[in-house]
């Protein structure tokens, strides 16, 4: 019996070669796309699950919510928290800390060196994260102050080999350390990316120095370390979390303006495997993935499969008239509807499995590029990974059954007497087919709108908001500082339009607070301190909305340059957000008034809040940030303060930027023995939106897949319709219709479902994308044009797809058309 079915299936397949190819190609494409998305999603959900006991390991984080400001999430904590947690919670079995290092490392002979992702780590690090060792002894590799651990990749990069235990490495300008062990690389699906682990026990390690600083009485809490704790197997995490509040109150000391700091602190314990899918926080090692984006991608995969299944259904039923005789004969011979259904379901399964093979090959071929683009190590080991293999087969079976159910039901329902008379095809079948095409195009249009919107938002974030030549602005690294002998010599180069020296807080790399006393009552206004020099506004092209910018000719502006230790405050320039928060009804109202405020300054070698004093607001400038459009730009106060400004920002003059940078580098090397480091603003911004850019690319590609699939579906419909209408078209021609009449007639037939599709797609796409945009504090809006363009594009795709076929049909001689049947 199977042989008989198989013969029918195979010969039907061969007889309709074009159909079959289109059909299988569509299904394969759908499988391949869905498999890639599934692999990606699986990778995203697999982060850090390779760590043994990952379900007991938590990263300690903080949410800081100063009065009147939106909360800040931090993935770093103070260096003292690990030990305090261990003391306060007997459930904590082990705690370990990491602090990133940007020291240059070089193997003996090589003086250039390399900056690898390095961390200062506690000796317990490899106890909590037991990477498998390749060489050396991991157990106490980090307890010596002069021994470090490399990953295999780092060893290769520094020494071009892996057996480097015992070799020495120069760390920074003048320290030499010994390689105690080489460990396996961190896989790409880890939130950590360390290549080098430096001994936290070294006397100059920030784990030591910052801890000492933090322990001084009255020290301001600062967050620099990644802290991980492993709980005992029997520990109850809810129990631990419920006691964190009390821990905060006793552990976080100090107060600002009479309010205990502890009030605005919340400690968080994030399970290791969840870190990658958390909302962004300050200090993230890798940008986390938004789970909603993953869900959207999975939805896209499902939609693609639905579209592919739709085509399959459409094709199977389109051939129904041909298969009807077979059904009729089998039924007359005593086949039940169930038997016929099983036959056709089996046939669909067979097709699905047939489509799986090219899909697997396609995934194999595309995966390296996909991995390269995403910087992942996603494997497609369907042979050795039973879950993957079975998943693949399961997906195929499921798709085959889903796609086969309707055709099987449809075909098996033919009444034998009707079939054998040749009147089996019911008109609903073509309506169902039309609805399918409408659904497919609706999905396509919605995906196009999504893709356009994502790209518009990226354009907005990168171009429109900054309105700066980001490829001509260079951010030097903080480590360089701003030696005046160097900055003073810059103008002699003639290639640099302006250079400014600012604090990290100004650029949003870290956060230093200011507190304003609101002149109109209503408590304090907490904001960001932006310590700058006079050319800052020039470099970033910021013009005041009201008032005048800072200038050395006004003594009060220059205050901190003359007397860094003064308790008085210099003149400030505030942004619009600050003017609003301080209660001024317009920027102009704020200008010239005096505000009472507190700033942080270096005293006795550490940052401390000064007392309140008042100074004049010289100007109000527009809200500005080079940071992410996700974050709201808060109140910001700009003032001249050289004591915490250590970052140079260069703005080149449009000419050959690389040459200009080269001459700056040469000039630097005359003044300093350290290497010149930094990055262009466009690199920084691109890194900022790396995840969105990735999402955009993924959505664009998979939209393209959906386009192809929808086009295939329409092609199927075209062939089907033309086949059924050859007679009708022949008759129309006999009665005097010209070729253009036929083309118009056919064009309208195919344009109609696309127009309907718009009606469904537009509101759905609008709602979803509106929500997506809401995730950004600053975003474009979805213009009506986006919808119109998506709709028009879909229409063009539709007409282009059927044009060739319609042309053939329209050109056929009427006699030929009528000769069929």
């Amino acid at each position: 019996m199977l042989a008989n079915y198989f013969a029918a299936a195979i010969r039907n397949l061969l007889r309709n070669r074009a159909y079959t190819l289109i059909n299988l190609f569509g299904l394969s494409l759908g499988f391949a796309a869905a498999t890639l998305i599934a692999l990606y999603a699986r990778d995203e959900f697999s982060y850090d699950r390779f760590v043994p006991n990952h379900d007991r390991i938590y990263r300690v984080g903080e949410i800081i919510e100063p009065p009147g400001r939106s909360p800040m999430r931090l993935s770093v904590t103070s260096t003292t928290d690990a030990e305090a947690l261990k003391l306060a919670f007997p459930e904590v079995e082990a705690a370990t800390r990491l602090i990133p290092s940007n020291l240059r490392l070089s193997a003996k002979q090589d003086n250039e060196g390399a900056t690898l992702a390095s961390f200062w780590a506690d000796p317990s690090f490899f106890d909590v994260f037991p990477l498998s060792g390749v060489a050396g002894n991991l157990a106490n590799a980090l307890s010596q102050p002069d021994s470090l651990v490399l990953t295999r990749r780092a060893a290769r990069q520094l020494f071009s080999r892996e057996d480097v235990v015992g070799e020495t490495i120069r760390v920074g300008p003048d320290t030499v350390m010994r390689v105690a062990a080489v460990v396996e690389n961190f896989p790409s699906n880890s939130h950590l990316n360390g290549e080098v682990f430096l001994p936290g026990a070294a006397s100059f390690s920030p784990l030591v120095t910052l801890t000492a600083e933090q322990r001084q009485p009255g020290a301001l809490r600062s967050e620099n370390a990644y802290t991980y704790v492993r709980l005992r197997a029997a520990a109850n995490i809810h129990d631990v979390r419920s006691r964190l509040g009390a821990f905060t109150d006793s552990h976080v000391s100090g107060s600002v303006n009479g309010t205990p700091i502890a009030k605005s602190y919340t400690f968080t314990l994030t399970p290791l495997a969840d870190i990658h899918l958390q909302p962004r926080s300050i200090g993230d090692i890798k940008p986390p993935t938004d789970v909603r984006v993953l869900h959207a991608l999975i939805a896209v995969a499902v939609l693609i499969l639905v579209v592919a299944c739709g085509n399959f259904i459409s094709m199977m039923t389109a051939r129904a008239s041909r298969r009807a005789v077979e059904v009729g004969v089998r039924k007359a011979a005593g086949a039940t509807q169930r038997q016929i259904m099983i036959q056709f379901m089996g046939e669909c399964l067979f097709y699905a499995l047939l489509a799986l093979l090219p899909a697997v090959v396609a995934v194999e071929l595309v995966l390296p590029a996909f991995n390269g683009f995403l910087r992942r190590e996603i494997a497609f080991d369907y042979l050795t990974d039973p879950r993957l293999g079975l998943g693949l087969i399961g997906l195929t079976m499921l798709t085959g059954l889903a796609a086969g159910a309707y055709p099987a039901l449809y075909l098996s329902r033919f009444k034998p007497n009707a079939v054998l008379r040749g009147t089996a095809l019911t008109p609903q079948s073509s309506r169902a087919r039309q609805s399918l095409v409408v659904a497919q195009f609706a999905i396509l249009i919605a995906l196009l709108v999504a893709t356009f919107t994502v790209n518009r938002q990226i354009h907005f974030a990168i171009e429109d908001r900054l309105r700066l030549p980001t490829d001509q602005i260079y951010l030097a690294s903080e480590a360089l500082g701003c030696p005046s002998s160097f900055t003073d010599a810059i103008p002699t180069l003639g290639r640099v339009k302006a250079v400014t020296c600012v604090s990290g807080s100004t650029l949003g790399f870290d956060h230093i607070s200011v507190n304003f006393v609101s002149p109109h009552g209503g408590g304090n206004v907490n904001g960001r301190a932006a310590q700058i020099d006079y050319s800052f506004f020039d470099v970033f092209g910021i013009q005041p909305i009201a008032g005048r910018l800072l200038s050395p000719q006004f003594g009060q502006d220059d205050l901190l340059r003359k007397d860094p230790a003064t308790a008085d405050n210099p003149t400030v320039v505030v942004n619009e957000a600050a003017a609003r928060a301080l209660g001024y009804s317009s920027p102009a109202d704020a200008v010239g008034t005096f505000a009472r405020w507190q700033r942080l300054s270096f005293m006795d070698g550490r940052l401390q809040f000064q007392g309140q004093s008042s100074s004049k607001i010289a100007a109000v400038v527009p809200d500005f940030s080079i940071g992410s459009v996700r974050d709201v730009i808060g109140p910001t106060a700009y003032y001249i303060d050289p004591t915490v400004s250590a970052r140079m920002v260069f703005r080149f003059d449009g000419g050959s930027v690389q040459q200009s940078l080269e001459s700056v580098r040469e000039l630097w090397e005359k003044h300093s023995s350290t290497a010149f480091q930094g990055m262009f603003l466009d690199q920084f911004v691109n890194a900022l939106y790396e995840d969105v850019l990735t999402q955009s690319a993924i959505f664009t590609w998979f939209s393209a897949v959906a386009v192809v699939l929808a086009a295939l579906g329409l092609l199927g419909l075209a062939i089907f319709t033309a086949e059924r209408r050859t007679k009708e078209i022949g008759l129309r021609k006999v009665m005097g219709a010209r070729r253009t009449d036929i083309l118009l007639f056919l064009g309208w037939q195919f344009a109609r479902p696309v127009l309907w599709a718009n009606l469904i797609a537009w509101p759905c796409a609008y709602l979803v994308m509106q929500r997506w945009l809401q995730g950004f504090a600053y975003h474009t809006d979805i213009g009506i044009l986006t919808f119109v363009i998506a709709g028009a594009l879909a229409l063009v795709i539709a007409l282009a797809t059927v044009a060739g076929h319609a042309m053939l049909v329209a050109r056929a001689k009427p006699v030929e058309a009528l000769r069929y049947e």
């Binding site: 005593g334 054998l420 040749g422």
Partner: protein
């Protein structure tokens, strides 16, 4: 063997109701060779379909081999039809995607028979219609007469008690038509009851009984003396 008692079959298309069979009563005895004649559209095919259990009457009673099947569900009809009824159609209705032997085999698939047994039955049936040498040809490669002989083989391969033929010679020239009719005659002589619709008076005369229909009714039921 078959007994129709005031069978009606009406078709409803939007608002027009056609009575394809209008209170038809007819008895067919085992071993008979019965011809149905009548103008196009008078309900011959409908009658044949009802007789062959691939259509159900709207009203009336139908005793099929001793059992009233007028109210049976499609599923029940299918089970009763299996291996008891064979069909031959005017337009052959061979499955394009199957070769000659496979087409004949289709009739045996739903009877529950071993592969070997099916093979020998198929071979036997093809032998009988004289197409053994075309076993692996596709239907397209055969002439109309040959295709109809394959259809006859398919109809008799289950050794049915009843064989229904709807204008089996309608699409054939006279030589081929005669050949097919000779076959049917032989099958009937071997014991199979045959009901055949035909337009040809000559072919109708091969039967021993001719039923004339008009507008869904039987207008004449004529027994023919056996021609020796």
């Amino acid at each position: 063997m078959l007994k129709l008692d005031r069978i009606c079959r009406t078709y409803r298309t939007s608002d027009v109701e056609t009575a394809a069979l209008d209170e038809v009563s007819l008895e067919v005895r085992a071993g008979e060779f019965l011809s149905i004649m009548g103008p196009s559209g008078c309900g011959k095919s409908t009658l044949l379909n009802v007789l062959g259990l691939i259509d159900s009457p709207t009203s009336g009673a139908y005793w099929f081999m001793g059992e009233d099947v007028a109210r049976c569900s499609e599923e029940q009809l299918t089970l009763r039809r299996r291996s008891r009824v064979g069909f031959v159609f005017q337009n052959f209705n061979l499955i394009e995607d199957l070769d000659v032997a496979e087409n004949v085999e289709v009739a045996l698939l739903y009877v529950g028979m071993s592969r070997a047994e099916r093979r020998s039955r198929v071979a036997e049936a093809l032998e009988r219609v004289g197409l053994m040498h075309r076993e692996h040809h596709m239907p397209k490669q055969l002439s109309g007469g040959q295709q109809q002989r394959v259809a006859v083989a398919r109809a008799l391969v289950t050794r049915p008690k009843l064989l229904l033929a709807d204008e089996p010679t309608g699409n054939l020239d006279s030589a081929n038509g005669d050949a097919v009719l000779d076959l049917l005659g032989a099958i009937n002589r071997a014991g199979t009851t045959i009901v055949m619709v035909t337009h040809s008076a000559e072919h109708a005369n091969r039967a021993r009984r001719i039923v004339h229909m008009l507008d869904g009714r039987i207008v004449e039921d004529q027994e023919i003396a056996v021609a020796c």
